[in-house]
């Protein structure tokens, strides 16, 4: 499921596609080393010029060019760079360097063996720090990634990490009274919800049309029960759904729905209506990726204190990486790799936190205050992939509709499990 990026709203995405289509020829002429004269390299970015990350990267490029004399030919392509990269590789017009979410990099290139193994970069020195890249990026992030056909998962060097969870206002007096300490179990969490309900407050706000965001809780509860979504969803026989731990997790989600803990009207609105309600304090929690803090930054009242926690019972945060990747066909390998290592310097990478307001993989760069809880969760234990990194059309064709039926109270936990099982079997049959 696509981790990226709710901030890039669909409208913007469509607009970008148009711009990209117009600019494709420009990219083409600059690609394949065409614009990279002696010692330079080409770079297509997932950011559009003017976005905070683009500003941080542009500043790094400027310093890199003056420090090393290596010319960087950058194109601010936007999110749809993912759709451009494959055809560009096929046409031998691909850039030497590009960046995206790890799931997008895997889907667009690594899965087909089209991404360069960047293990060399991990062994390179971070300029001026006397450490290697592998020393500053915790290995757990790359270890969690799916492997390409060559058995390698070093096809991305991350510079930004997101995670999902339940977000809340720690300064909310009702919530503070209901939840003096973080609940340890799901039953404790429901007690918090009950206490809120007694005060006439909804526990959870939910944009009910969104399967990915709302399903995050199920994904975490499955993980808490020892079920890996990747193994669960890739089982062609569907037998994995018979695991009692699966039903338990689904029943826990059902308790949220049946218990009336969701802010009313959630199944009859369009995003971001309920996110807005949450930021206005109408419900205590909201389940989403950590970019939600940025989305509501301008709406929340001044005394709002952003808190985040994993759905109780879960111990391992999920991680969604964004970082640099190189196509297998890259021509100017050495200078591009040098830039990747250059970008990992604390003073350069720090801009992702201070300027762009995001978490970096380096644990010695503090996250922005609103994301402090998320960084703590990421740092404290091994990480896992959101939905086990499930890819392809499985979410759309199997999970989303069934999950929304459960989430809207149309099906019971048992019905959900049995339709998931049968739909999954027929899905995998159609994929042969």
């Amino acid at each position: 499921m696509n981790s990226k990026t709710k901030t890039a709203r669909r409208v913007v995405g469509v607009a970008t596609a148009v711009v990209l289509a117009a600019g494709a020829s420009a990219c083409g002429s600059g690609g394949a080393g065409g614009g990279a004269k002696a010692g330079g390299f080409t770079y297509w970015s997932m950011w559009r010029a003017g976005e905070p990350q683009a500003k941080v990267i542009q500043a790094a490029i400027d310093r890199f060019q003056s420090d090393t004399g290596i010319k960087v030919d950058v194109t601010w392509a936007g999110r749809d760079v993912t759709k451009k990269i494959g055809p560009a590789i096929a046409a031998r017009q691909a850039p030497d360097l590009w960046d995206q979410g790890a799931d997008a990099v895997y889907a667009a290139t690594a899965q087909a063996g089209q991404a360069l193994d960047l293990s060399d970069v991990l062994g390179m020195e971070v300029p001026g720090e006397g450490k290697k890249v592998a020393d500053v990026i915790p290995a757990k992030y790359l270890d969690a990634l799916p492997k390409d056909p060559n058995g390698k998962n070093h096809y991305i060097i991350p510079y930004e990490v997101s995670s999902a969870g339940l977000f809340y206002n720690a300064a909310d007096p009702d919530l503070a009274a209901a939840m003096p300490t973080a609940p340890a179990t799901w039953a404790d969490f429901l007690k918090v919800c009950d206490a809120l309900k007694a005060k006439g407050r909804a526990c959870l706000a939910s944009d009910g049309e969104l399967a990915w965001e709302n399903g995050l809780t199920l994904d975490y509860l499955l993980a808490a029960g020892g079920v890996d979504f990747s193994a669960l969803s890739s089982d062609k026989s569907g037998a994995s759904w018979d695991n009692p731990a699966v039903l338990t997790a689904v029943q826990q989600v059902e308790q949220l729905v049946k218990g009336g803990y969701l802010l009313g009207g959630y199944d009859a609105t369009k995003f971001p209506a309920q996110e807005t309600n949450w930021s206005a304090g109408k419900a205590a929690f909201y389940s989403d990726g950590s970019w939600v803090t940025d989305e509501v930054a301008k709406q929340v009242p001044a005394d709002w204190k952003m808190g985040a926690m994993l759905p109780p019972g879960a111990t391992n945060a999920d991680s969604m990486l964004f970082g640099f990747s190189m196509p297998r066909t890259a021509k100017n390998v050495a200078p591009a790799q040098k830039f990747i290592a250059y970008f990992q310097q604390q003073k350069v990478l720090g801009g992702i936190s201070t300027e762009a307001g995001n978490i970096t993989p380096r644990s010695d760069i503090p996250a922005p205050a609103v994301l402090a809880d998320v960084q703590k969760a990421l740092n404290s234990a091994p990480v896992r992939l959101t939905y086990g990194g499930v890819a392809g059309s499985y979410p759309t064709k199997v999970f989303n509709q069934n999950f929304l039926d459960l989430w809207h109270g149309k099906t019971s936990a048992e019905q959900f499990v049995s339709t998931m099982k049968s739909d999954q079997v027929s899905f995998w049959k159609s994929q042969d």
Binding site: K4, G86, T269, P395, T396, Q401
Partner: protein, 318 residues
């Protein structure tokens, strides 16, 4: 009355002269200049339309991600396609938009024609009706979230009217009917405008004669307007068929978000092609995408031919 009317007004269009042996000098001239004139157009058509369709047909026989080598799959893609519940839903939805949406659109358009011909300020009314067609469908997709939210303007008005429990407009189950309704709303003005243009050409004296014969408003519509505007209506039907199959952005805007595709229950074949060609988290399945596109091309072709045949009438001249 209809026959009387036709006897008075209708003249059968002369058939084409039978293709002669080519002895006439003018005929020979025509033949000589046919290819020099038609050739360039045919060439452009072949290069820009036929060749891509041929290439798509070729691609549909392979498994291909657009980057690596193509793997031969033969007709297996088509087998998979029809075995895929998502595609079957898409196909049914496409037909539902085409048939149900089309029937409603044309029923309303023709009813409006009946009213508009006789009313005052009809030019103004026509402009108002045409307006929704000028607005980009994406605007509706975005505006719907505001208009139809539980405490949005629509429900507020319904509340004033005494409706205590209005439907959950934006619930997943209602998405597809909402999409069809929006399509009907935008298309009605468009087809009304075209049909009205044809109706305006019908001479007034025919209506006067019909009125003298004692025809009611509906009978005038049935026996004068409908037969005399039939050619245009049948062209409109073809236009609707072709355009309804290509509808896409409305579905994407209504049901999708940046991290979720629209629910499968709202897909049509165009949406299916899009999701196969531009999946969010996997390599493109260009073979499947082109196979789905070809199936919908064949479907439109067959339906268009059938419509043309069904709606063929002897042309009426006036």
């Amino acid at each position: 009355m209809a026959t009387a009317l036709q006897d008075r007004t209708a003249v059968r269009r002369e058939g084409r002269p039978p293709a002669g042996s080519g002895a006439a000098p003018l005929e020979r001239q025509h033949r000589r200049i046919f290819w020099p004139f038609a050739g360039p157009a045919l060439l452009v058509y072949a290069v820009l339309f036929l060749a891509p369709i041929g290439y798509a047909a070729w691609t549909s026989l392979y498994k291909w991600d657009g980057m690596g080598a193509k793997q031969w799959r033969g007709l297996h893609n088509y087998q998979v396609l029809f075995g895929d519940p998502a595609f079957r839903t898409s196909l049914l939805n496409t037909l539902e938009i085409l048939v149900v949406g089309g029937a409603i659109t044309f029923a309303i358009s023709l009813a409006l024609t009946l009213v508009l011909r006789e009313m005052r300020a009809r030019l103004f009314a026509r402009s108002v009706l045409f307006f929704p067609c000028l607005v980009n469908a994406m605007v509706f997709g975005i505006a719907a979230g505001f208009l139809f939210s539980p405490d949005g303007p629509v429900n507020t008005v319904l509340h004033w009217l005494g409706v205590a429990a209005p439907p959950k407009w934006l619930a997943t189950d209602n998405l597809f009917p909402m999409i069809v309704a929006t399509l009907v709303w935008t298309a009605t003005g468009y087809y009304t405008a075209i049909i009205m243009a044809a109706v305006d050409q019908i001479p007034e004296y025919l209506y006067e004669a019909a009125e003298l014969d004692g025809a009611s408003a509906f009978q005038r519509f049935r026996h004068v307007t409908l037969p005399l505007a039939w050619d245009v209506i049948s062209v409109c039907a073809v236009l609707w068929t072709v355009s309804s199959v290509k509808i896409f952005e409305l579905i994407l805007m209504y049901g999708g978000s940046s991290s979720n595709q629209p629910p499968v229950s709202t897909w049509n074949t165009a949406m299916y092609v899009y999701t196969e060609a531009f999946p969010q988290t996997s390599a493109p399945q260009l073979g499947m995408a082109t196979a789905a596109a070809l199936v919908s091309l064949v479907m439109v072709g067959v339906i268009t031919l059938a419509l043309r045949r069904l709606m063929r009438r002897t042309a009426v001249e006036y």
